[in-house]
Symmetry: C2
Subunit: 256 residues, 2 copies
């Protein structure tokens, strides 16, 4: 989600717009929301933004289709909230001066949609690059510095490896520390891979994968509550920090 | 939502059940959930209960239909979460020893469903008694003491007035203090009535309506953040307390 302070505040009923100098006692700084996946942890937060304040949603057609198939999201009044389809590879402006491009990364379809995949869903489906799991390239108009936001990624590919070279900032999938983590903790029977996430640790992990990618700042996001990097002072936290990573936290602000 | 401590803890994958003496490191005390409305504030919380723990949902067919029409709720795995239709007036057991009956109260259809009502939606639609807004009668098997849970109610009717007489405990709609509250606060253009809620204050308010109903304990729930009774020490808080009401709070526990 992207923050901004919109100049124009909107009245709760579309037909009775407040004048710019009028006060409106509810306000959200959100101006644009870019969805990178259609699963519950990526879209359910929209339901708490139903106060008839103006913002724009951007996502691939496949992810927007998830919203369309669930009428509960109509609580986001279309008078205030636009849904904008973004094709993979297109570069568009989501807020004045801020441009994005969406690109597919290895992932999987939303958990609750697995059953709808024709012929059932198998382990082999994980890692497909589709419109269902995407990364975001972010940059300012006229600025060559680039940031990436990739909260879910099942594996590092050559294409992704090349893409991220010499970027200023990468937010990356930090779901699990190691692949069997949820099984070991007694909180699940699925591996990180099965959930569409590469681990931080290990030879096939993201720390190794980024070792020869030149990125100024690396920040782990989308961290599961079983991941020991969340514990201050843990060995795993030290390991990621020694490898040049930062653990994201609520309220974190970053400027390029 | 009803709390209980189930004796049997369930494994995350249905086909591999944990034995009763095994530890499972995620646990929710929720055993049964009774839905009284299909609007976002009543059903979106289900999306945070998607940890494959067993509980049972009870609601009218109309409210269950809202879940059915939104595939996002399929994240509640049907192996663990049952959806049970309860007809108005039927008495059923939702957990061992705890019985409920659902009854319609004056209300309105969910905000985001208003547009689907044939012929549009008008102020006149508010106050209809349908399966869309219901109250819950709760009692233990073999116990004549009765509690009611009614988080949304557009007006007091003679039927409801009679029903609540001599009950032990009533949780009641405390959305707004007065009807024009959201308009006065600059947070909305709808009256409490238009949202399907009767006010606390005033001649047509719930405090007056309960004045001649014999109820041992009266607790306001579903309180909007514009309602001044939420402010400790406010005159409105004093007024409700002087009228024998308690303001519900997170973590509140009550025993009959």
């Amino acid at each position: 989600m992207l923050n901004c302070s919109p100049d124009i505040r909107e009245q709760i009923v579309a037909t009775t717009a407040l004048q710019p100098n009028q006060q409106y006692n509810r306000h959200s700084p959100l101006g644009a929301i870019v969805l990178t996946n259609g699963d519950v942890d990526h879209i359910a937060g929209l339901l708490t933004l139903r106060e008839k304040q103006r913002f724009n949603i951007f996502a691939t057609p496949a992810i927007l289709e998830v919203l369309d198939q669930n009428p509960i999201f109509n609580v986001l009044d279309s008078e205030f909230v636009s849904r904008n389809a973004v094709e993979l590879g297109d570069e568009i402006e989501v807020m004045p001066g801020l441009r994005i491009e969406l690109f597919s990364v290895p992932g999987k379809v939303a958990l609750y949609l697995e059953q709808d995949v024709s012929g059932g869903f198998s382990e082999a489906e994980v890692g497909r690059e589709t419109e269902d799991t995407v990364g975001v390239k972010l940059h300012s108009a006229g600025d060559h510095r680039v940031a990436y936001y990739i909260p879910g990624c099942a594996m590092m590919t050559d294409t992704l490896h090349s893409r991220l070279q010499q970027s200023e900032l990468v937010f990356f999938d930090g779901t699990v520390w190691h692949n069997e983590e949820m099984i070991d903790h007694g909180t699940g029977l699925k591996t990180g891979q099965r959930m569409g996430h590469m681990s931080m640790a290990g030879d096939a992990g993201s720390m190794c994968a980024f070792d020869d990618i030149d990125v100024k700042r690396k920040v782990y996001v989308h961290i599961n509550n079983t991941n020991p990097v969340l514990i201050d002072g843990s060995q795993e936290r030290k390991d990621v920090e020694q490898n040049g990573w930062t653990i994201a936290y609520d309220g974190m602000e970053l400027a390029l």
